[in-house]
């Protein structure tokens, strides 16, 4: 069931576009610059183009197709009204350099989104500029670095990172020019306090912590961890990938975090797109607000615009919204202002749910995860037997099915019409299966998943070949990744057959 590469559908002379006839005099083209006939792009008709992409879409599994319990990715339902909002021409057809008086709608939306994220997180300042979580992490570490340098302390070059952390955490730290120091987790999945104390000194710029962590657990000593780091002169960075457990439940700024990124494409329902675009806004406490990347959006009361009487509360129309630069900004993290149309989607989501709806989302995300954990713990090893948050980790191996690994379970789930959970992460659990249902799945869907997992455990014992040879029903079987890496074919060439 494979679809030809679009080049294989190409025939000279075909076209899928129509362009207007030239209507101005032809100016001579710049000497020496003209490309020859060597523009190897396909030539297809519109019907073949559409059929190609429609058929490719049939080879894809998305949240709109079925259950997608990928831990730490928060594959919640992507509301369609968000998609409509992002396509409003008033938003989509605006150029970032238009005069501010012609983009007050955009600037108002960004300003309000800044304030909504502040309200949820407890932070005093927000930048919407980072385009993804990892981008937000880089931003946050650079802020911590700048803060210490501004204090005259050039010796703080280390960042403490738990062994359960997502790979982007150490990678972002290395990109900032800082040194990674890894900390152990204890038997209950918390940061090991002894290991933390042993590594705290005046070389530590701060700590990166995901909370709840990648085991889905809320650190039982969070306050003490933050206190220890602060007492040693360091700052607390929060990786907000798991914020879906915390909306209306707790504000990270009140838990001791100084700077944190959020993922709009996780917690705030914007679609994953097959790998982006996302958005990774960063929130900071008041003492770090001056270091945020620029520009941010501010507003000023505009006497000319404001028609309020005395005592009347100002509304959005009373203000002029504009871009401004934080006073000690670390600089720009990308051109322009951030992934604006992704912000529109998140904004729409927050306006529809309100505070009560967001809290309900987090509560039900945690409820659903604990429900699945309760139903699966008797069958699969559960390394940390505690109430979990919005996700939990099982071991994908069974005592009486020795040849079966997490990989086999994952591939067999595909035959049941379910996307596998995250596997082999976090690294501290062998054969890890990280399961995050999110709040948008019905109990029936959860029960179908449980039934599938129980059946697969049975198959693992009785018919292991079914797992080893899975998936059986997918468009392709297991792919030779070793060959892909050893003989890289990274683009189509005509010699392909």
């Amino acid at each position: 069931m494979s679809e030809p590469v679009i080049y294989e559908l190409s025939r000279p002379g075909r076209s899928a576009c129509s362009l207007p006839e030239p209507d101005v005099p032809a100016a001579p083209l710049p000497e020496g610059w003209l490309r020859g006939d060597d523009l190897p792009l396909p030539e297809v008709s519109e019907v073949d183009l559409i059929r190609h992409y429609v058929r490719l879409s049939h080879l894809n599994f998305g949240v709109d197709v079925g259950f997608y319990p990928l831990g730490s990715c928060t594959m919640k339902y992507n509301p369609k009204v968000n998609e409509d909002a992002s396509r409003l021409p008033g938003f989509a057809q605006t150029h970032p350099y238009q005069p501010e008086e012609t983009t007050q709608g955009n600037l108002q939306l960004m300003y309000e989104l800044q304030t909504y994220l502040q309200a949820l997180s407890g932070f005093a300042g927000v930048s919407l500029q980072p385009a993804a979580g990892a981008h937000g992490e880089l931003t946050g570490i650079l802020i911590m670095r700048a803060y210490h340098l501004a204090r005259g302390d050039a010796g703080r070059t280390r960042i403490l990172i738990p062994d359960s952390a997502h790979g982007t955490n150490p990678a972002s730290t290395a990109m900032s020019g800082m040194e990674v120091v890894q900390l152990r987790s204890d038997a209950r999945g918390n940061v090991d306090l002894d290991d933390l104390r042993a590594h705290l000194d005046d070389r530590v710029a701060g700590m990166m912590l995901t909370n709840p962590n990648t085991l889905g657990l809320f650190d039982e000593h969070l306050e003490e961890v933050a206190q220890l780091v602060h007492e040693a002169g360091g700052l607390m960075y929060g990786d907000g990938a798991n914020f879906n457990a915390l909306m209306g439940i707790a504000k990270p700024a009140e838990l001791g975090f100084d700077v944190m990124h959020l993922n709009l494409h996780k917690t705030f329902s914007t679609p994953h797109g097959g790998g982006g675009p996302g958005s990774g806004p960063v929130g900071v406490t008041a003492q770090l607000a001056a270091f945020l990347p620029g520009p941010v959006v501010e507003r000023t009361l505009d006497e000319e615009l404001c028609e309020c009487q005395d005592g009347e509360e100002h509304d959005a129309t009373c203000y002029f919204y504009s871009l401004s630069w934080p006073k000690q900004s670390i600089g720009r993290l990308k051109a322009f202002y951030g992934n604006f149309l992704v912000m529109v989607r998140a904004y729409t989501y927050i306006r529809m749910l309100g505070a009560a709806g967001l809290r309900e989302a987090s509560q039900d995300a945690v409820l659903s995860a604990n429900y699945l954990q309760a139903r699966l713990r008797g069958t699969y090893p559960l390394p940390h037997d505690r109430i979990c948050m919005h996700e939990f980790v099982l071991e994908g191996r069974l005592p009486d099915a020795p040849g079966i690994r997490a990989l086999d379970i994952a591939k067999r789930l595909m035959d049941y019409g379910i996307h596998p959970p995250t596997n082999y992460f976090p690294l501290i659990v062998p054969e890890a299966l990280m399961i995050e249902p999110t709040e948008t799945e019905s109990k029936e869907t959860l029960d179908v998943f449980v039934e599938a997992m129980l059946r697969i455990a049975e198959e693992a014992r009785m018919q292991p070949a079914l797992l080893h040879e899975a998936p059986h029903n997918a468009p392709v079987g297991r792919l030779d990744e070793v060959r892909a890496a050893r003989q890289p074919r990274l683009r189509w060439t005509p010699a392909e057959s």
Binding site: A134, L142, L353
Partner: protein, 453 residues
């Protein structure tokens, strides 16, 4: 409404299975003093209400469906064929995750493989990755790659002043912890020869933008000479290219580029007030293992069927962690899909036609504006579809007056270069009709004469 399907009966049943009496008990690990805080947000809205709110907010803007626009400067108004949005609207694509489970993600994987192939076609490079956040961050990653490719012993980067000012800022922000020494100066008129003169054995790379930020093209021979000069000292040449222009102009591979980056937004993404955009990144075969970002490769399954997988993952953060080539994880995959559809829709001849229309209409506009008293078009170097105009009044005032004609004028170059105060950068694309251009010229004439409509 929060899109949550759970009824009270569902919740009761789940709580019973878990063995707790209330949902609140599930949050016992949250410090009591911080638990269940007051969160102040606007009251929730029904879907029809939120649609109205958003529509009103969007209508508080002036948008390009209703105003003619002559802004370019890194974001370009091009026609997006209707097929692009229809493909992007298929939720099998947009609600999918990163294709780590390739057996059920062949749609995403193959479309990215096709995108990679088309970027190689455009740029003449051997390999392209699956995307960066935008052209500016792609350029920053190119610098990081050049530092690594030159064994980490070189710290100098020659940055052409005629590169987009925000790109140069982003490169500096990204490298602020890396001890990079920047050279190149601040004079936007510094040419390839002037840059070549600054290369030495400490240089990791030299970076130019083609056409440059002011829309200009140097001679191909000059750029080839710069490439030679770089290679002679063991440095890389990085070229930031405008992808539409590549439909008409020689690709950077032809004059010796090692890495080609750029902003892919013109390839099927609306202006979007600056994002989401698409950073494309392509390079020579020799550097593939130092590349940042995701890579899709072709392989076979156990039955010999062709399929696609993410590959060379040992470069990436989830495998190599602090030794990864970059921290990038989520990128701009759906925008890369848009670019693939756009390039397939336009095809070999369509892209060239779009480039030609942009070129011709820009030259028509430049010639007409040159005839308006008070306005002086800079013609010292050839240009593609953007050109510099010295205005008789401050650029901001000219633009203010143009708004009365429902025209969004060009970019105020005084913001970017002190030597260009009073100058404006006009961009013309296939979206500016001849009539619109004539209206612009009439408006500028009136402004030059001190009049208003």
């Amino acid at each position: 409404m929060s899109y949550v399907p759970h009824t009270d009966a569902d919740r009761k049943a789940m709580l019973a299975t878990i063995g707790v009496r209330s949902i609140d008990e599930l949050f016992a690990d949250v410090p009591q003093r911080a638990r269940f805080p007051q969160v102040t947000l606007p009251a929730p809205l029904a879907e029809a209400e939120v649609v109205r709110e958003l529509r009103e907010m969007s209508e508080a803007n002036a948008d390009l469906d209703h105003a003619a626009c002559y802004l370019g400067a890194g974001a370009y108004h091009h026609y997006v064929p209707s097929v692009v949005q229809h493909v992007l609207g298929r939720s099998e694509f947009y609600t999918a995750y990163t294709p780590y489970q390739p057996e059920i993600s062949q749609g995403t994987l193959q479309s990215i493989f096709e995108y990679q192939s088309m970027i190689c076609a455009l740029t003449g490079m051997d390999v392209s990755n699956a995307s960066h956040y935008d052209g500016a961050t792609a350029m920053a990653e190119a610098v990081i790659m050049a530092l690594s490719a030159t064994r980490g012993t070189r710290r100098k980067v020659v940055l052409a002043p005629a590169i987009h000012p925000e790109y140069r800022e982003v490169v500096r922000t990204y490298t602020q912890g890396m001890g990079v020494e920047f050279a190149g100066g601040e004079d936007p008129d510094a040419d390839a020869a002037a840059l070549a003169a600054q290369l030495d054995e400490r240089t990791a790379c030299v970076i130019v933008q083609v056409p440059d930020f002011l829309g200009r093209l140097e001679r191909v021979e000059a750029l080839a000479a710069l490439a030679d000069a770089a290679h002679k000292v063991g440095a890389l040449l990085v070229v930031a290219a405008y992808p539409i222009a590549l439909g008409l102009l020689k690709p950077p591979a032809a004059y010796g580029a090692d890495i080609v980056v750029g902003e892919g937004q013109p390839l099927g993404m609306p202006l979007s007030y600056g994002g989401p955009y698409l950073g494309f990144f392509a390079c020579r075969e020799a550097y593939v293992r130092r590349m940042a970002g995701r890579l899709v490769g072709e392989t076979v399954d156990e039955r010999g069927r062709r399929g696609y997988v993410l590959t060379l993952a040992t470069r990436e953060q989830h495998i190599r962690r602090e030794r990864a080539t970059s921290n990038i994880c989520s990128n701009e995959a759906l925008c890369a899909l848009a670019a693939g559809v756009y390039l397939a829709a336009l095809g070999k001849r369509g892209l060239r036609q779009v480039a030609e229309i942009c070129y011709q209409r820009a030259h028509y506009a430049a010639d007409a504006i040159a005839g308006v008293p008070g306005f002086e078009v800079q013609r010292a170097r050839p240009f593609f579809n953007e050109f510099v105009v010295r205005c008789p009044l401050p650029a901001a005032e000219v633009n203010d007056m143009l708004l009365d004609w429902d025209i969004i004028g060009g970019y105020d170059l005084g913001q970017a270069y002190p030597s260009l105060v009073g100058h404006m950068l006009f961009c013309v694309t296939e979206m500016n009709t001849r009539e619109e251009i004539d209206d612009l010229v009439a408006a500028l004439r009136a402004i030059g004469e001190g009049g208003k409509e």
